[in-house]
Symmetry: C2
Subunit: 329 residues, 2 copies
């Protein structure tokens, strides 16, 4: 009888169970679901925010076309553009949030408030849905997973505006600082400027992404993972150059900015940090940015909101409770 | 200047962004986190529940060693055994829940109650943790992801006990029915018995796993996914044979049961459905079993619990509310 039966495949022999297929099951599930990533760019106008985002995703994912101008909004506005990207069968729904008007006025007091409000509104929407009795199977994730903060290439130090904004943003979102238009700085100037900014960040207690080891609460982080993060931290802030123009160099085409004295290649790691930023943001840490937004920033928001409510709910006055509930949600 | 710089690797050329690396990021994250799967076995004693589980995972993951006997508990008990498995670097923390005493008495009224309570207790623990202000980053998942229900190989139809139990279990957990010790049935008997059981299940409105298309609420399900489920449904209930004894056949070793008239090979798809059950449970649908427990059964439980509370919370009597809250959680 055994001769008539088909022989099992080699891997089915003896002790193979099939636990390793779980990786493939997880991969297929993620493929079916697709990914969504929400990126915010904050910085004064003219620092190349749109160009950098378009260079990162090699598509036009910003509000305006190059060269197009629009009147300056009187306060900071928050605007989104969404795009669906697909590479190798992996679907990414990308939302880029721009903040026109930020820092562009004579008096920039509180110009960060619309930005912080927007970020917290997304947490609030998520929390409201999560707490519903009849909630959605997959809550749409509009939470901002990463905020690229553009520092002007002055070569001096962080401005008071930068400090005030960063101190507020780092509490609510993963902030990745970048030095914009870094081709205006020589390599020496760039190194000194980076050191100065790192000192400024540390002096003002500003925690950028990736967080240092002691802040990482996730017990699942392995040593390799933490070492990778430490390596990225050494390179912060990324000194970047963006460009969507292709140039011919012998044997290939590159994205770059050609001047009479030479060609700055965007993706050349010895010219600027663009490739390091792109690798971190897309190729190594995108999933971690999404997870840490949910596990660190959203949980902080949720804890604060619910702690603020709890004493009142247990308190004496039922009417007060209701009012607080409705105004906070 | 360009000549001096290292050439980018081919894949970095031109328009490659790196979105497809998200799959690898998800895979690495799942590897770091590991998987946990909770399996429950329900059925009268002597149907080979422990043997089947040990055959499935090719390890000893049950409470007792073969041949060991213990006194019959006076009511149904619920007991767990946990094991850590590792294959190809993928870690699986497996918990097998056994229900000794189920259906073994003269009067089996309510013998399913400890089982349903246990399943709901796990949902309740999860809900309590999920609603805490200061909740755990990763809530330990003790929810039962799959319940293998063992039908005796009588060749007749479902007993009233089977019907009563299955009607209650299918509301709270993914139930996969199996015909135990299927080597006692000829192929013809097996086919007729399967048809009869499918008719019984349908007559009593019992919904086993995988659910038919109209019950699948997940909008992310693709056609292929639903077709795979339909194919599995055609084969239900799985007629299985378990064995942890290796036998020599020409050229290889197989798990099986040797009798004087022949050798039943456990993993031979033309001898019995063990390999189909193993493939579904471990190699294709384990992730789906975990997800549908969270998305279908846990959400049902949560909705019922929270709906039951809501009117009382808005009601007049504050003291009543507190009492109900504490007794329900």
């Amino acid at each position: 009888m055994p001769q008539a039966c088909p022989a099992p495949s080699p891997q089915e022999g003896m002790t193979y169970v099939g636990i390793d297929t779980l990786q493939e099951q997880t991969r297929l599930k993620a493929l079916r679901r697709g990914y969504s990533f929400n990126l915010m760019v904050v910085g004064r106008s003219g620092l190349g925010k749109s160009t950098l985002v378009n260079t990162l995703f090699k598509s036009s994912v910003t509000r305006r076309k190059a060269g197009e101008h629009e009147p300056l909004p009187s306060t900071t506005e928050v605007r989104q553009v969404s795009a669906s990207l697909n590479e190798g069968g992996v679907r990414l729904s990308l939302t880029v949030t721009d903040t026109p008007g930020f820092g562009d006025h004579i008096n920039n007091e509180n110009c960060w408030e619309p930005i912080v409000s927007y970020i917290e509104d997304q947490y609030s929407r998520y929390l409201t849905e999560e707490q519903k009795v009849d909630r959605l199977l997959h809550i749409p994730d509009t939470r901002v997973h990463c905020c690229l903060y553009f520092i002007p290439p002055t070569g001096h130090s962080l401005s008071s505006l930068d400090v005030e904004v960063l101190r507020r943003l780092d509490k609510v979102v993963n902030v990745v600082p970048v030095i914009a238009k870094a081709d205006t700085l020589t390599l020496d100037e760039r190194m000194t400027y980076k050191e100065r900014i790192r000192a400024d960040l540390s002096d003002h207690g500003i925690k950028v992404y990736p967080p240092p080891q002691e802040l990482s609460k996730d017990t699942e982080d392995t040593d390799t993972h933490l070492q990778d993060h430490a390596k990225i931290r050494e390179r912060l802030p990324f000194a970047v150059v963006g460009s969507t123009t292709w140039h011919d160099v012998p044997g290939r085409k590159v994205l770059g900015r050609r001047c009479s004295w030479g060609l700055v290649e965007v993706e050349n790691k010895s010219h600027n940090d663009f490739a390091y930023l792109r690798d971190m943001l897309i190729r190594t840490n995108m999933q971690d940015l999404i997870d840490s937004t949910a596990e660190r920033h959203y949980e902080n928001y949720r804890r604060t909101k619910l702690s603020a409510k709890t004493p009142t709910v247990n308190g004496q006055d039922a009417v007060d409770t209701k009012e607080i509930n409705s105004s906070k949600m």
